[in-house]
């Protein structure tokens, strides 16, 4: 078997075990939340009988272990359960069960989140690589310092502040971009891109410094190694040295940082979602925690865990593929 495929398989099975551990942590964390959904939804007016009946319908009357096994069993078969809101008892029994499947609830939100993350990545990743390489190339020049100062400034501010500044500039003073990114399934692609422009720009400014600095550091680090010295001595130009000789060996740390930032774009942008009214998965999870809509919370947390595991796996694979010593082990 090819070592890469072997590595992937090993890492995937390790990832699955990590997921299992994570699912236990998620489930117990949710157990520790005070109050429960029945009370949150039915309100103070509910009688003890209504609450008991409702809890039974949701399966909350069973022991934690049984509930965990039911949940994880369902997830393994691709069934994330159905949202608590809209269950038969909530609609007074007469309306039947109108609850939405968690998958139906999450899917459009997840698509929105991935769209924004993808759009940001398309801007931010090439840009930070370019800035990182060029600032390594012109190390300690005015250009290098300007790029560093600017990107460090934007990463140092909280993202909502960056968002408000951008809204002020592009929404109020020079109104060229929409400040509400409330897209829905029917929004045409061009308008979607336009509406996502400011959130994507905000996120770009927030993540660019990390990737740019890592690229720069990795390359500068390599510039001191003997084979680079050799290349320089053999008359290669500065540009050639960096692009041809240094960069290929720098991919591993750069890929790790990119993966880390992409994961952040999927799981950690709830603040930006709120400021731009973007219907992403972060806002859904926060709402669900507030109302104790447990199936949705658990599904979101699991999706976040999968995102981290997969992106890290991809980063590791890139690290292996770009490193001949790891690609062809003795």
């Amino acid at each position: 078997m090819h070592p890469i495929i072997k590595t992937i398989l090993v890492r995937l099975s390790l990832g699955l075990m990590t997921l299992l551990a994570v699912s236990i942590i998620i489930f117990s964390a949710v157990e520790f939340l005070p109050g429960d959904f029945t009370e949150a939804i039915l309100g103070q007016l509910a009688t003890p009988e209504t609450i008991a009946a409702f809890r039974k319908e949701l399966g909350l009357d069973q022991t934690a272990l049984v509930r965990y096994l039911n949940w994880i069993g369902g997830v393994l078969q691709g069934d994330f359960g159905s949202s608590f809101s809209g269950k038969g008892s909530v609609t007074g029994g007469t309306g039947g069960d109108r609850s939405r499947d968690v998958v139906d609830l999450i899917a459009p939100r997840l698509w929105n989140t991935l769209f924004l993350a993808g759009m940001t990545a398309i801007i931010a990743v090439p840009l930070s690589l370019f800035l990182g390489v060029t600032s390594a190339l012109y190390r300690n020049s005015i250009y290098d310092r300007a790029v560093n100062v600017t990107s460090l400034t934007t990463i140092s501010f909280p993202e909502f502040f960056v968002a408000y500044v951008l809204i002020l500039i592009f929404g109020s003073l020079w109104p060229v971009l929409p400040t509400l990114a409330n897209v829905d399934a029917a929004t045409p692609m061009l308008e979607r891109i336009q509406r996502c422009a400011l959130p994507a720009l905000t996120l770009t400014l927030v993540i660019i410094a990390h990737m740019m600095r890592m690229t720069r550091a990795a390359i500068i680090n390599l510039l001191a190694s003997p084979y680079i010295q050799m290349a320089i001595l053999s008359g290669a130009s500065k540009r050639e040295v960096i692009i041809k000789h240094a960069l290929p060996n720098a991919w591993a740390p750069i890929a790790t940082v990119i993966a880390f930032n992409l994961a952040y774009l999927v799981v950690g942008v709830v603040v930006v979602e709120v400021v731009f009214v973007y219907p992403g998965i972060g806002q859904l999870m926060v709402d669900s925690v507030t109302s104790r809509n447990i199936p949705v919370v658990q599904a979101c947390a699991l999706i976040f865990a999968v995102t981290y595991i997969l992106l890290n796996l991809i980063a590791d694979i890139i690290g292996i593929v770009t490193n001949p010593r790891l690609l062809h082990p003795k």
């Binding site: 809204i167 009214v277 859904l284 669900s288």
Partner: protein
């Protein structure tokens, strides 16, 4: 100067703060002739509605757990959705009167124990069904039935039977007389749904009769309604399309309205309203309604069972300072009764509680209590609640009273703190009459009796008075009963109501409207129905 005054009076008239007679009187006092004053009143009131356009309403409310079911509707956005897509038997008009909506007329008999509602003919639901008495009965069954979990179940607890007489008449028999019953059925939960075999489907998007048909609804994100071509009201529902967009973040809401991404925005923070008013394309709309902030003291918890402790704390709060610093003047000070000038039978003879360290100290000494008094606060109770608590600690200190502030988490506040801890902060939105307000939070039966004021002599008397007033149909006698009830609550009750908060909105200057209702925010949450693009 005069011009500014007239402008102000005109605003007040349009916002329903003063009535037409008051407007005429005050404007005539500036030396204006009667015809001129009349035409001013007319231009303020009688702008003509125009059809067309897409209204984009950015609202600060909404949650992903909302649904179309009116029984679980909990926040202003889902309430707005109800008013946009449906109608009720009665409604509170933009001038604050109760008028028939789907009911053409309603008449009491037998000391208000029996109510007959005659329904409007020729009204169609969005699914094509014609409105009949069966739909009304099925809707009320759904909310008031035995296995109902509707939040408004309590409002119908006195209904003994509902019968129809022909297709357009519904007769309600009540266990006790209730002169305010038509007000009760105007509650937003009781949107009349289309029925089938005596049952309604509360989640069916096409079961309303309202001015807009549901086009799409993503809870907590966006509601889109298209104009109902068969709407029965003339001159209402003027937009081609209405979009209600949940924009929870206040700064995002303001930037949306400033940049023209929205035409109407609610819940504008008092802190920034003056800056927003400078935008040339915007108009600020402020209404004083029935929204009030309250610090309920529970009589089942020490030391609030002590009359003198309650009395001392009522004097130890600097209400004017709270108004100036928490609401920045955008409101009115409260007097510990949940009745505003916008509601009938306000007792105007009651002395006003104001900050009085001497009286507070005197009552506190009489109470014999010593040691710190815990006060649980969170901004979930009302925005600015924590700061209000801090100000109260300081003012109480001047009276020799030690309030100990306990900061509570917003998450779970309504289940773990409110109605549980001895003293906390909370708020109430609009209730159209005293009876409805008392039944929500003050009578001995309601579970939301947040002050647990049930067992003192005054509370027992209060409960009797409220029941008597409910079935009293004579205006003067009724007024007397409500005035006495308010006096008891004012003196002995556990509610400390320091503030009535204004609703602050901003809207594009291109929007036109008539007089603005104060019973809820957003013109009684009926901007979609009542406003237009001029």
């Amino acid at each position: 100067m005069t011009k500014k005054f007239i402008q102000k009076q005109q605003d007040k008239l349009t916002n329903g703060i003063i009535d037409r007679r008051h407007f005429m009187k005050s404007v005539l006092a500036t030396g204006l002739a009667v015809p001129a004053a009349l035409s001013l009143a007319n231009s303020a009131e009688a702008a003509t509605p125009k059809r067309g356009g897409v209204l984009r309403h950015a609202t600060g409310y909404g949650s992903t757990d909302d649904s179309l079911d009116p029984g679980t509707s909990a926040n202003s956005l889902s309430q707005n959705v109800i008013y946009t897509r449906g109608n009720h038997l009665t409604e509170v008009s933009n001038e604050g009167e109760l008028i028939g909506e789907l009911a053409e007329s309603f008449e009491p008999s037998n000391n208000a124990k029996k109510w007959v509602f005659d329904l409007r003919k020729g009204v169609e639901f969005h699914n094509g069904k014609s409105l009949t008495a069966d739909d009304v009965i099925a809707t009320m069954e759904y909310h008031g039935g035995e296995d109902s979990t509707s939040s408004a179940k309590g409002n119908l607890s006195s209904v003994v039977s509902m019968t129809k007489d022909g297709n357009h008449r519904v007769i309600f028999e009540l266990s006790e007389g209730n002169a305010d019953f038509p007000y009760l059925v105007s509650d937003y939960h009781f949107m009349i749904n289309a029925s089938k075999n005596g049952k309604i489907d509360p989640q069916d998007p096409a079961n309303g009769t309202g001015g807009y048909m549901v086009d799409s609804y993503e809870p907590g994100v966006k509601f889109v309604g298209k104009r109902n071509p068969n709407y029965f009201k003339e001159g209402h529902a003027n937009f081609d399309e209405v979009q209600l967009i949940a924009v929870i973040d206040a700064a995002a809401r303001q930037s949306a309205i400033m940049s023209g991404d929205a035409d109407f925005a609610d819940a504008i923070p008092a802190k920034t309203v003056n800056l927003l008013a400078r935008a040339p394309n915007l108009e600020i709309l402020e209404t004083t309604g029935t929204q009030h902030y309250i610090f309920p003291m529970r009589l089942d918890t020490e030391p609030f069972d002590n009359y003198n402790v309650r009395k001392a704390l009522k004097y130890a709060v600097n209400r004017q300072e709270l108004l100036d610093k928490i609401l920045l003047g955008h409101g009115v000070v409260g007097n510990d009764i949940p009745v505003s000038a916008a509601m009938p039978f306000l007792n105007t003879d009651l002395p006003n509680y104001s900050f009085d360290p001497e009286k507070a100290a005197m009552h506190y000494k009489k109470s014999g209590h010593s040691g710190p008094i815990p006060l649980s606060v969170a901004d979930a109770g009302f925005s600015g609640g924590v700061s209000a608590g801090e100000l109260m600690v300081e003012s109480a200190k001047q009276c020799g009273i030690d309030i100990q502030l306990v900061r509570e988490p917003n998450d779970g506040y309504w289940s773990n703190v409110w109605n549980v801890k001895g003293w906390c902060n909370s708020y109430w939105g609009g209730r159209p009459t005293q009876d409805v307000m008392y039944q929500a939070a003050y009578t001995k039966e309601t579970n939301w009796n947040e002050t647990a004021w049930k067992d003192t002599d005054a509370a027992i008397k209060f409960n009797e008075l409220v029941v008597m007033a409910r079935s009293e149909t004579d205006y003067e006698k009724r007024k007397g009963l409500y005035w006495d009830a308010q006096a008891l609550l004012h003196d002995d009750g556990g509610s400390l109501i320091p503030l009535w908060a204004n609703y602050i909105h901003a809207h594009a200057k291109t929007l036109g409207h008539g007089p603005v209702a104060g019973n809820w925010l957003n013109d009684g949450n009926k901007v979609s129905e009542r406003w237009w693009f001029s």
